[in-house]
Amino acid sequence: MEDKVVEIIEKHRKDDAKLLAILHDVQDKFGYIPEDAIKIIARELKMKKGEIYDTASFYSFFRFKPEGRHEVLVCDCIVCHIKGAEDIIKRLEDEFKVTMGETTKDGKYTFKMVEGLGHCEESPVMMVDGKLYGNLTPDRAVEILRRCEQ
């Protein structure tokens, strides 16, 4: 990791607002911002690791834990909610032993709750790796995800 992070830092060293650019590139490289990368950036920029974390955690688009291989967005907008999104969420959380916003222990899925995927006519809906699935039931939601494991 050391070499890769230092290479990214060198690329931006002369920029005025280099920290955000470095953090973006690090996330692109590793899929998230690892703790060790924060320590290396702090050392190289003569800052404290806390200062880096303070800045980075301000922005919701930076992640500090690795993402799962599949991104699952479950919609809980008012329409999906009325049509049973709550049951779907509960079932998914039980089945995959996570809470929304987390990644499963095996690193396969990252679950996120969103409000409005723009397909109210098919609600309740979820999106897996960018593909939309509508008219869900709790069983169907689990089945879809089990299928993409294979």
Partner: protein
């Protein structure tokens, strides 16, 4: 500038905020997030005020709005008070457990605190000293401002934003892992009681007593809060040299006072076991045994170790006791192991052995700090903070020379990682570069110094290439450091990394040469500044607890000595006494028969520990005076329980020559007595006609004997102390030495160049590593005090050896592995800590008796100052079987 606040015309200075001006006028505007008035963060919104300017009326935060000509300001109109109430109500919804300053505000506005949601607890709570209650934290960020803007630590930070913001340490780590200094600035800043000292408790009647910290030589004034003869908590006093700063030891290190392990009764060893006795019995026994030994073997068969932890008064009468009652100059103290080479080296070049400048001018006026052989943020933390601030806030430059990646190296322009023991070569190399580039201060050399030609001759061969070879430092870095140093108003700051070598005197003299060469002496923000290790090591030397020098550094057999004899009414022995290490050698050979050790622990602090213990065991009689049953006390025949510095009065002299008055914070525990009382009682029993009633009596005698202290009185010390030399009662003390002339015969400083000589022991095939020793932040010296405190033991439970990652890999050692370190003198087991240190070098702290670094160290001596080479020993390493 004219403004109107609440109808009243006010004249105020431009540049101030409305909040500042209102405060000065006694108008109470609530503000929860405001900590540093010059740097408001405008987060809480409570200080909102109504402003009318010309035809415009608007609302703005008083903390972030600067006053402007003609402003009409209303601070408490009904709609503003309503807004404040709304803000407070919103906070109150979720913060049931708010306490302290903020709670009073809620009471004032009649708002009830509510909320049951339990908030997630950040990892920072896992620490022994500071508690954090998220139910009371309102994210005002005062703690973060204190940690970053006041202390430059940047440990406490914000995580996330908006509603989800919370305070964490580092990357949401434990405080220690995030690099916390446990200075407590966050606790002091917190308005809601979310952050608190774990020791603190609310007592109805609490007294604040200010005294001087018992640890290092910075000499911080500490406010101790006392209830029922017990310290409840402590923090740095605004009245001291520390200006409110403190460190982990100043803030939490007082807890040894009430340790159950404190000695409370005098003890005499009978049949190998200590028995409690009365003071009379113990004192009679000590006096009669010392008298017997003196009669049988002569006065020079007795030696005494005075103490840099005791007061000036106690050091003074200890050495007087040894010289006048016993009749020997065999008196020394631990300065021999820390700054003996400073005294000799600086004396040779500058004519005085003390720190040339003061904390105040170093803080404000130095353009560059050259820190060499000093882990300042750990060993002298308040000065460390001062340097960090100067670098961060006013762009001061910093050169660090240290084989370890010490904290200050993160702030440095250049970090030189020299091989231990090669400092003379490094400094000569810097001087070579300065001369060859014509950067020397020719006028200063001409007018204020002598011996320059000899220096030029000697440093000629120390070319960057040659020095690179000796020190292992790339020549570019040496050149950069030399040029930076020579082209700024530069202050040298050093400590034991320079002094504890067989070349200690040469190292110190070379640094003084460097300062002379560039004219960096006798001016504000410059100088040669040794940081003294113990609270009163400067004073112990001033008081003449030295085998070759009398109080005030008077030489034996001189006119000054004769004058002291007159005051003392007797003859001072003529021949020089033995130094610390020489005493141990003499004891092992049976030439020293009896020793009186006050407040020192040579069994752990001195080099070549096996030999020290053998020597102490070889004595016919050993009396030890201490707070605790130290490793040395265990070997004694009599142990006398002493009062700690928080339990007595007297004076300490700090690293910048500032004499400071102690105030008794609590009454002595058990049957303990102040050291001065004990010494006098023994002296009386040996026939001395002494009658000091209190430390002040002794100080009055010191004033007469020690010229540098002549103008100092207890009354004058009440405020912030006085810096010697202070020759007259109307003299204000001396901040900076050598401003116009040097205290030498002709008033000139004398260049005293040295050639580089290798340390006594260099690595070879059998012992391929260099061991260097030192302190950690959390513990102090032999741990007699700090290891009695649970919190410190939790943070650093035991010894470790810091090792370079590549060295560790070669030997198959992982972080935390048990490793065996062996030198020619012994071996110890410690756990490995892989970290930032020069390849081929390992570092072990010397606080831990069970894996004592001093089993390994070398007792080879500097030929002039007799300081042992604690900083370089050849060792080999392997993983434990």
């Amino acid at each position: 500038m004219n403004i109107i606040i609440n109808g009243e015309k006010i004249e105020a200075k431009q540049g101030k905020s409305i909040l500042q001006v209102a405060k000065e006028k006694g108008i109470d505007i609530p503000a929860l997030c405001n900590l540093i008035e010059e740097k408001p963060i405008g987060s809480c919104g409570l200080c909102v005020v109504k402003i009318k300017k010309g035809s415009k009326t608007y609302y703005s935060r008083a903390c972030t709005t600067k006053i402007d000509e003609g402003m009409e300001i209303e601070t408490h109109s009904p709609e503003i008070e309503d807004t404040r109430k709304t803000i407070l109500e919103m906070i109150a919804e979720e913060h049931k457990e708010i306490r302290g300053e903020a709670k009073e505000l809620f009471l004032k506005y009649g708002i009830e605190l509510k909320g049951d949601d339990k908030k997630a607890i950040p990892k920072l709570v896992e620490n022994p000293f500071i508690s954090f209650n998220p139910e009371a934290c309102i994210s005002c960020f005062r703690c973060i401002q204190a940690c970053s803007l006041i202390k430059e630590n940047h440990v406490l930070v914000r995580e996330n934003r908006g509603m989800n913001t919370r305070i964490v340490a580092g990357i949401n780590e434990r405080l220690k892992d995030a690099g916390c200094a446990f200075c407590g600035a966050c606790v002091d800043a917190c308005p809601t009681g979310a952050l608190m000292d774990l020791t603190a408790r609310v007592e109805k009647e609490m007294k604040k007593i200010t005294s001087i910290c018992p640890y290092c030589g910075v000499g911080c004034a500490i406010d101790y809060y006392v209830s029922n003869n017990e310290i409840v908590y402590a923090k740095g006093s605004l009245r001291g040299v520390n200006k409110g700063d403190d460190c982990i030891k100043g803030r939490y290190g007082w807890q040894f006072v009430n340790s159950e392990e404190r000695l409370k009764k005098p003890l005499i060893k009978r049949n190998g076991k200590f028995e409690e006795v009365t003071w009379d019995e113990a004192l009679d026994f000590v006096a009669s045994r010392l008298r017997e030994i003196k009669e049988k073997y002569g006065a020079d068969s007795i030696a005494g170790l005075s103490s840099a932890k005791c007061t000036n008064e106690e050091n003074y009468i200890f050495q007087k006791f040894m010289r006048m009652v016993i009749g020997t100059n065999n008196v020394d103290h631990c300065a021999r192991l820390c700054h003996a080479s400073t005294v000799v080296g600086l004396f040779k070049v500058l004519g005085s052995g003390a720190m040339t400048n003061s904390l105040n001018d170093l803080e404000n006026d130095a353009e560059l700090y050259f820190v060499i052989g000093s882990n300042t943020t750990h060993a002298h933390p308040v000065i460390g903070t001062m340097i960090k601030r100067a670098v961060k806030r006013r762009g001061a430059r910093l050169i660090v020379a240290d084989p370890r990646d010490i904290e200050l190296s993160e702030y440095a322009d250049v970090h030189i990682k020299q091989r231990p023991g090669t400092d003379v070569a490094l400094i000569n190399g810097m001087m070579h570069i300065i001369i060859s580039q014509g950067l020397e201060d020719k006028e200063f050399i001409e007018n204020r110094t002598e011996g320059f030609e000899k220096l030029r001759e000697i440093v000629k061969k120390y070319t960057p290439e040659y020095v690179e070879k000796i020190t292992g430092v790339p020549k570019e870095e040496i050149i950069k450091a030399a040029v930076l140093y020579a082209t700024h108003r530069s202050a040298i700051i050093y400590a034991m990394g320079i002094t504890q070598h067989t070349s200690g005197t040469a190292n110190v003299a070379s640094l003084a040469n460097l300062a002379l060469l560039t004219g960096n002496v006798g001016k504000r923000g410059t100088g040669v500044n040794p940081l003294r290790g113990q609270n009163n090591v400067q004073g112990a030397g001033d008081m003449g607890a030295l085998p070759n020098l009398l109080p005030g550094y008077a030489k034996l057999k001189t006119e000054k000595a004769r004058k002291i004899e007159k005051t003392w009414g007797g003859k001072i022995p003529d021949n020089e006494g033995l130094t610390v290490v020489e005493m141990m050698h003499a004891a092992s050979k049976g030439m020293i028969k009896g020793m009186y050790i006050m407040g020192e622990n040579p069994a752990v602090s001195d080099p070549n520990q096996k030999h020290v213990i053998k020597s102490l065991k070889n004595l016919e009689f050993l009396v030890v005076q201490d707070l605790f049953m130290s490793e040395t006390a265990q070997l004694a025949d009599v142990v006398l329980p002493a009062a700690s510095s928080l339990e007595k009065e007297g004076t300490f002299t700090n690293t910048e020559r500032r004499v400071q008055l102690l105030h008794r914070v609590v009454e002595p525990v058990g049957d303990t007595k102040p050291d001065w009382w004990i010494i006098q009682e023994i002296a009386k029993r040996m026939g001395a006609d002494w009658n000091y009633k209190c430390p002040q009596d002794i100080f009055e005698e010191i004033r007469n004997v020690v010229a540098q202290y002549h103008g100092i009185t207890y009354e004058r010390l009440e405020n912030a102390g006085l810096q010697w030399p202070c020759p007259e009662e109307n003299h204000e003390g001396t901040e900076i030495l050598h401003e116009n002339m040097f205290p030498t015969i002709n008033g000139l400083a004398k260049f005293t160049p040295y050639e580089y000589e290798a340390p006594a022991e260099v690595p070879d095939e059998e012992y391929p590593f260099v061991l260097t020793t030192g302190r950690t932040y959390e513990h102090f010296h032999t741990g007699t005090l700090t290891r009695k405190i649970d919190g410190f033991n939790k943070l650093i439970p035991g010894a470790f050896a810091e090792i370079h990652p590549e060295d560790a890999e070669k030997l198959g050692i992982s972080d935390g592995d048990c490793i065996e370190v062996e030198s020619r003198r012994g071996k110890i087991k410690v756990s490995a800590k892989i970290g930032g240190i020069k390849k081929g070098v390992i570092f072990i702290p010397f606080h831990f008796a069970e894996s004592a670094a001093n089993i390994l160290t070398n007792d080879a001596l500097d030929p002039e100052a007799k300081i042992p080479e604690l900083k370089v020993a050849a060792v080999k390493l392997k993983k434990c079987q």
